[in-house]
């Protein structure tokens, strides 16, 4: 029963996306809305039904696989088109379709003014389908297919306004980084195929033991898979595409670059936790990368001026938290953070969307202030989001982040180091989020008031923000320290109870709760002092550590380094090939032989002097030549 429903959840967005694309001309707005949003709503409803169905059945029967048909039988491996419905994938389905529905609702109005209304919703639906395929795939091959479709959808949506060269470049960059990630995943899958002989999750994980714990191959598998995850979840080396991806419309940023796509990496690590359990080194590497990303992104977010870029860097930082958690083995807390993050980050983005929409596309913080009087809903959304993300006790973020940090503290000395970085990160998060809040919503209006008074948006946009706001407040109660652990119990059948799976102990809970609360409040206070209380103070402090802040605003120069190290050498090699090697090598063969033949022909022609006596002369030489050859042959032969 659950599997048939899951197939419907998967197929619905695909069908609606294809219908919208295939529609002969631009369909009326109503039909686009019904199809686009309706399909996601129904998908969400069915997901809830599946969730309820799974909840009803005993834990050990919650992992169901269903096979549509034998996709390919090649060599001695057969791959089926199959889906895996288990607590992990259902949880992701809920997040994707739930938050997805709200964002679709929101974008109905946000994109109201755009000519390609139908193309937007088709893209969004195809994105939801790809994300569902990714999380529900039953084997590594269809994971990769889902993975690539998600990359394609994000390419299409980032480059939605394709007439803007910056958007086109951003889309290309995102896609190419995604392909690099894909390559990592493909090589990982191929290595798994070689070692375990199958691509199915069940078979691969069963065979994982035979690869030999902590062996080089296992490490290679984990790192290759993580390479894919890092590209998708924008971790340190491969994160440069996310800030540029803000070129796309805000709902796109909300759905893709906050709630769902960036978390695919986390999902992947959790799904393949069997490999990571067996290789502690791989886990630690992942955790360290998460930690570094967390810290680096937080510092950069502090300096951003564009409202969406602040949120983008904050996403990179928050995902860093999740990657750190799952790296250390705290799978449940990582997923809990993922869910909570989906709620408050979506709320923040949508609120920002309202602001941008109201100010007719204005995204620069310097030209915003005192909006709380005009945009009440945005203020509520942004406020709730900030409180949640900062980890103020009682809000969703607090419980999630606390769970992560508590588990980290219990995870050996690497865990402790991560805990410390996590705490610093929490402080910085509170600082930059409330900087955003205070600069945008508090203080006097710029230039003595907005000429066209920003009018609040209609219900399409307000309702989702409010719902998400409430969720960011309430969402955390699912798993409360010292209370109940909803998420851990729910994911227990998936993550199992391998020794390396981390859970917070009593003491670490207490310590973390105290420290994170103190740190959060300190961050808010500093932010109020810097930006809230006296807007002019910010200008006075502009001179402090100007050069480092410049570097931090540029994203620690990752873009420039990457260009110089990878892109430019490739370009020069290609130019050398095109200008030097091609004309001399392969083309050279042709021009060379033609010249040779032409020379030979001229030589032979010249010898035809037309002089009779010359011919007689050549005959004599011919006789002598034949004589000599024969003499050599005869003496040689004899």
């Amino acid at each position: 029963m659950a599997t048939t429903l899951s197939w419907m959840v998967l197929v619905l967005p695909l069908v609606s996306g294809l219908v919208l694309t295939g529609w002969p001309s631009e369909p009326p707005r109503a039909i686009t809305r019904v199809l686009g949003i309706g399909s996601i709503l129904v998908a969400f409803a069915l997901s809830v039904w599946v969730f309820a169905d799974l909840l009803g059945s005993p834990p050990e029967e919650r992992s169901l696989t269903s096979r549509a048909f034998e996709w390919i039988a090649i060599g001695d491996v057969t791959v089926d088109l199959s889906i895996l419905v288990d607590p992990l994938s259902v949880m992701m389905m809920l997040v994707i379709t739930g938050v997805g529905f709200l964002i679709h609702l929101y974008s109905a109005e946000y994109m109201g003014g755009d000519r390609d209304y139908r193309r937007f919703f088709a893209g969004m639906n195809l994105f939801v389908f790809s994300m569902l395929l990714l999380v529900m795939a039953g084997n590594f091959l269809f994971l990769i297919v889902g993975w690539a479709f998600v990359g394609l959808a994000s390419y299409l949506l980032i480059g939605f306004w394709y007439e803007r060269p910056t958007a086109v470049a951003a889309a290309k960059k995102a896609f190419i980084v995604n392909v690099i990630g894909d390559v990592g995943l493909v090589l990982g899958a191929v290595l798994i195929l070689r070692e375990t002989g199958t691509l199915d999750y069940a078979g691969a994980f069963a065979g994982a033991g035979s690869i030999g714990a902590d062996s080089g191959t296992l490490l290679a598998i984990c790192l290759l898979l993580f390479m894919g995850a890092a590209a998708k979840s924008a971790q340190v080396p491969l994160h440069t595409w996310l800030p540029d991806a803000m070129e796309g419309p805000t709902p796109v940023s909300a759905l893709i670059h906050a709630a769902t796509m960036v978390t695919a990496g986390v999902y992947l690590v959790v799904r393949c936790h069997v490999f990571f359990d067996l290789s502690w080194l791989a886990g630690d590497i992942v955790a360290v990368v998460g930690a570094i990303t967390l810290l680096m992104a937080a510092t950069v977010a502090l300096q951003q001026v564009d409202i969406k870029r602040v949120l983008a860097w904050s996403t990179i930082s928050q995902v860093g938290y999740m990657i750190m958690a799952v790296g250390l083995g705290a799978y449940a807390s990582g997923m809990f953070m993922l869910m909570a993050h989906a709620f408050f980050k979506a709320a923040l983005f949508l609120a920002a969307g309202i602001v941008i929409h109201a100010l007719h596309g204005e995204q620069n913080l310097d030209r915003m202030a005192g909006l709380r009087k005009h945009l009440r809903v945005a203020y509520f959304g942004m406020g709730a989001g900030c409180l949640a993300i900062a980890g103020v006790p009682g809000f969703a973020g607090f419980f999630a982040k606390d769970d992560v940090l508590a588990s980290a503290l219990a995870g050996g000395n690497v865990g402790v180091a991560c805990w410390v970085i996590g705490v610093i990160g929490a402080f910085l998060t509170a600082l930059y989020m409330f900087r955003l809040l205070f600069r945008a919503f508090f203080g006097p209006e710029p230039g003595g008031g907005y000429r066209p008074v920003p009018h609040p948006s209609r219900w399409w946009m307000s309702v989702p923000v409010v719902i998400l706001g409430v969720l960011s407040i309430v969402g955390g109660l699912v798993q409360v320290p010292f209370g109940w652990a909803g998420i851990t119990d729910w994911l227990q059948p998936v993550t199992g109870n391998a020794p390396s799976v981390l859970a917070p102990t009593h003491t670490t809970e207490v310590v973390t709760v105290i420290t994170s609360s103190v740190v959060a409040l300190a961050g808010i206070a500093l932010a109020w002092w810097l930006f809230g209380a006296d807007p002019a103070r910010r200008l006075r402090l502009a001179g402090v550590a100007r050069s480092t802040r410049e570097v931090m605003r540029g994203g620690w120069r990752f873009d420039e380094v990457c260009d110089d190290v990878i892109v430019e050498p490739g370009r020069t090699v290609a130019d050398v090939m095109w200008a030097e090697v091609e004309p001399k090598g392969p083309q050279g063969i042709i021009t060379g032989t033609t010249a040779l033949l032409r020379g030979g022909a001229r030589l032979v022609g010249a010898s035809q002097s037309g002089l009779v006596r010359a011919y007689a002369f050549w005959m004599v030489l011919g006789i002598v030549a034949v004589g000599i050859v024969l003499a050599i042959v005869v003496t040689g032969a004899v």
Partner: protein
Amino acid sequence: MNAGAALALYVMGAVTVLVLVLAVTPLGARGRRVPEVLALLGLAATVAIAVAQWGERQTAFSGELRVDRFGLLLAILIVIAAGATILLSWGEPAAAGRRPEFTGLVLAAATGMMLTVMSGDLVTLFIGIELLSVSLYVLCAIEVARGQSLESGLKYLITGAIGTALLIYGFALLYGVTGTTSLEGISARLGAVGSPAPEPLFIAAIVLVVVALGFKASTVPFHMWTPDVYQGAPTPVTTFMATGTKTAVMGAFLLVFTGATHQASGDWRVVIGAVAAITMVVGNIGALLQDNIKRMLGWSSIAQAGYLLIGVAVGTLAGTESVIYYLFAYVAMTLAAFAIVILREREVENGDHVEALAGYGRARPWAGVVMTLAMLCLAGFPPLAGFVGKFLLFGSAVDADMTWLAIVGAVASVVSVVYYLRVVIVMWAPPPGGRHEVRRLGVPRAVAGVAIAAGVAVIALAIWAQPVLDVCADAARALMIP
């Protein structure tokens, strides 16, 4: 001494004399085509007799003439070439005033060629070659009014005379070593002695014979005269030289080397192989930049002589069989090519330039198709007869483990593709002056007939390759096993 065996030769001789006599009688006057018709009838009779005598193997004139399958088959090919030449020269301006003499001389040359291929004795072989050469000297220079024709005649005569002198000297030495002039006697004498320490005189004989026959077949060190003479002589004569002489001289090569001195083949295989290799390479390279179509076809015939020599150099049964088959294919392709050149020459001034053919394919599609077929066949493109011939020749070379010869042949054919296809390009390219100014001159039916027949032959030889090959195999066996 059964004279009956040589009936075919009698008929040819009689017809030749008869036609030459016509030159003086009024019957030879312009208008009525008496000499040509008489000649064609004679040729038809000869073929009929040759086919009738196909079965037996016998010698006439006490060994001087071997009427066996080998001789008869090549004789048939020669007669076909002669008939085609007569048809091609139907309205030939060069032979305007002196048609009986022209036809008579062609018949004389044909008789000489038949004599060469059917000879069983050095003297007959020599006199056959000389009759053939003398007739062709005159034929080349028959268009007395045109300087180039005379020039080609004299060039051919002078270099021919030198060749004849060397041929005599070679045959003399051969006679000196073996004491007899009959080919069977020579091979018996060589066989009897077993494989002698190579008698130096015999080596000198081989050198001179290879040189002399090489000259007649226009192989490379001795090819210099060919392009000039092919360009200067009237085109039907050039055609006859390219087809008939080549067949006769290859027959002579086979008779002397594969036939008579095959015991000593160890010695001459490499030499002829080397000559063949050089001929193929230089022949093809020489033809690359030619812009006069007759001169280009001259160079191409040099190259084709190289391919034919592969079969001779190998000295085996398979080699001889493939030479004979390739001769059939070669005659067909060359006739087709020259027929179109003649057709073009009659329509436009200096028609023998390659540019003159520009766009001709579009003006006369059937001529274009025939010329394309001829060129593709000469280049060795499958599935035409040229390819089958080359395949058999290369096969025989590899079979006698002279694979290097096959490789040189392959490389040379690649070079040949360039200039053969250049003609095809020019043929089908859009005509220079927009619409093609083909004077609506009536197409001489005889020439068109030869062209189409040759075109069809090129395809037929490929499709029914096996029956033709069986006939060639019989001929080869007749030669090899006395």
